[in-house]
Amino acid sequence: MNRIEQLFRDKKSDILNVYFTAGYPKQDDTLAVMKALQAAGTDIIEVGMPFSDPVADGPTIQASNQVALDNGMSISILLKQLVSMRESIDVPVVLMGYLNPIIQYGLERFCRDAQACGVDGLILPDLPMAEYLSEYKSVFEEAGLLNIFLITPQTSEERIRLIDEHSQGFIYMVSSAGITGAKSDISEAQKLYFERVNNMLLSTPKLIGFGISDHQTFSTACNYAEGAIVGSAFINLLRDNPDYIQRITPFVKSLKEA
């Protein structure tokens, strides 16, 4: 069974997914960051593949993408770094990124190489449903890669049902109308949206992302979904601390515990 599916079978709440950009802040410490995240108790590791034009991302993740590219990071370097990750990483690993670099690497080659590394799933925000179903789904499935779709507060009920049908592993529930970025609280309007979606009794588990930055926002999100995703707040930690590897455990602890 795919590691993501296994995780959601074994654990029903407080699942923590942490995002970071591959090659940030340095090109060669991707695996070191992943090991530290796993040791700290992260349930899912989401590795961003940097792109020059990350249109769904806010300033923090944009800047990390640019630094990673300036560091020379690429999909081919990343997949070389990850080739033996399963010797040390047991938690599910998801790759997040935009389509163009994958197309240039070659879709089938990308899926084959990701599978060889032991990657479990993909989050590709600019892959539309129709293209996924007609051209990508079979290639992903061949490589055992789950494809994770997003929903937002503007997504219609009918479309949420469609996404529930096709999103594999979990649904990435974007917390508000906006791009990625750390925020300090979750509003009543957001809670109403979370409740509205919960009342739909979807078959796919949900993780709430965008604006999850600390224990308060993480635990609030966990009241409405199986877990939550932290991205920009973790990138800020990597950016601001030269000893970031040592700080990963206390950071993850601070998310999980008051």
Partner: protein
């Protein structure tokens, strides 16, 4: 072979709507409504009345006698430079703002490179009394200071795009992010035939008034509707799309698109997308794209700020790929010389974007009986600084 858009938003293999879920409701709302709104008699009346009374259409089709003698063919100029605000861009912004009103939108956002589309957007927002925010690369804001002030005089907020290379593609990213963050009640007026479906088709339809008029006007003076050639410069490609639109399926007319080679196609400082680009995805559209082997988007260069976009509209990618369009590229120097030539031969100082189309005349093998229509997409007032700095006149 079909050259116009299909029901799924594709031109051959190019086009589509590769957008994050956050933009899906907005783009879907447009996709479901744009044709019924645009084709309604009420919209058509409003649109054409404003094009006539406010923009100054129809623009003349002018037989350029001295240029014709110099190139030994019959050369007509479609005078989009005489449109209000000085270029064809306003045809699209008029159409989109009426559409935005019909959709009940209360606020307009736009991206701009050189500032021409930003000015055309700020202009129609002033006309309709709608708030307007224009995203512009920080570097472009410095390079195009007068246009920044024109937008501000017209009442628009100009917001600096400080991410990435801080030019047009980043301004487009910022406008898309702004739309994601403020999706309800906002309409995003894209300035060229780029972006996710239905934008390329919608913008092409609004600009298609250019070729509609060319056909009527040519028929009056020449007794035929099809010239041998229609020529236009291409960055994203909105003026070319408008000039080609009603000739797409008319095989008697050759479509000639002219890209900016910058300092030379192989110089590393160029914007010749069909010569240098590969199949890729940017700003919601599958198209030809200048990029590294790793799929990172490359910053293009041209002396003309309106042509330095790393992609090209999916319609043009298809015209290139299918061979229906003939694509030339001309360097900065060739374009500037052509701008001076048109100024001296016809008393018209063209925008530097437009001058690229004229420079390609030297690469054509024309016969005396040939009828050529060049889309004179914009006037050169905005480019005086660039002409002066270049100085070779």
């Amino acid at each position: 072979m079909k050259y116009n858009v299909d029901e799924n938003g594709y031109y051959g293999k190019f086009g589509g709507a590769f957008i994050p879920e956050m933009l899906y409701p907005n783009v879907e709302e447009l996709r479901q409504n744009y044709l019924s709104i645009i084709e309604s008699p009420q919209f058509q009346n409003e649109f054409h009345q404003l094009l006539r009374d406010y923009v100054g259409r129809p623009t003349p089709l002018y037989l350029a006698q001295r240029l014709s003698e110099a190139y030994r063919a019959k050369i007509y100029l479609k005078r989009e430079d005489l449109c209000h605000t000085g270029a064809h861009k306003v045809n699209n912004t008029i159409g989109q703002i009426i559409l935005a009103q019909k959709l009940g939108k209360k606020k307009i956002i736009a991206e701009t490179g050189a500032g021409q589309h930003g000015v055309a957007t700020a202009t129609v927002c002033a006309l309709m009394g709608m708030p307007c925010v224009v995203y512009m690369g920080e570097i472009d804001m410095k390079r195009q200071k007068p246009n920044v002030e024109r937008m501000r005089i017209l009442g628009a907020d100009v917001v600096a795009a400080t991410s990435g290379s801080r030019t047009l593609k980043d301004a487009t990213n910022e406008a898309m992010r702004a739309w994601i963050s403020d999706p309800v009640g906002t309409h995003y007026i894209i300035g060229s035939v780029v972006g996710p479906h239905p934008y390329p088709d919608m913008v092409a339809r609004f600009q298609s008034v250019i070729s509609e008029e060319i056909k009527e006007q040519l028929s009056e003076v020449e007794g035929r509707t099809s010239p041998n050639y229609v020529m236009a410069c291409v960055g994203g490609g909105s003026n070319a799309a408008g000039a080609f639109y009603h000739f797409l399926d008319d095989q008697d007319t050759q479509l000639v698109a002219v890209e900016a080679a910058g300092k030379g196609v192989t110089s590393g400082e160029s914007a010749a997308t069909t010569a240098l680009g590969k199949d890729g995805i940017l700003h919601g559209s599958r198209t030809l794209l200048m990029q590294t082997k790793d799929g990172q988007v490359v910053e293009p260069y041209s002396i003309s700020a309106g042509l330095d976009y790393p992609g090209i509209g999916p319609l043009h990618a298809h015209l290139f790929d299918s061979g229906r369009g003939t694509f030339f590229s001309v360097t900065d120097e060739e374009a500037m010389m052509a701008g001076i030539e048109l100024s001296r031969q016809e008393g018209i100082i063209p925008a530097i974007e437009t001058a690229h189309a004229f420079a390609a005349l030297k690469q054509m093998s024309l016969k005396p009986a040939d009828i050529v229509v060049i889309n004179l997409s914009g006037r050169g007032d905005k480019d005086l600084d660039t002409y002066i700095k270049w100085g070779n006149y």
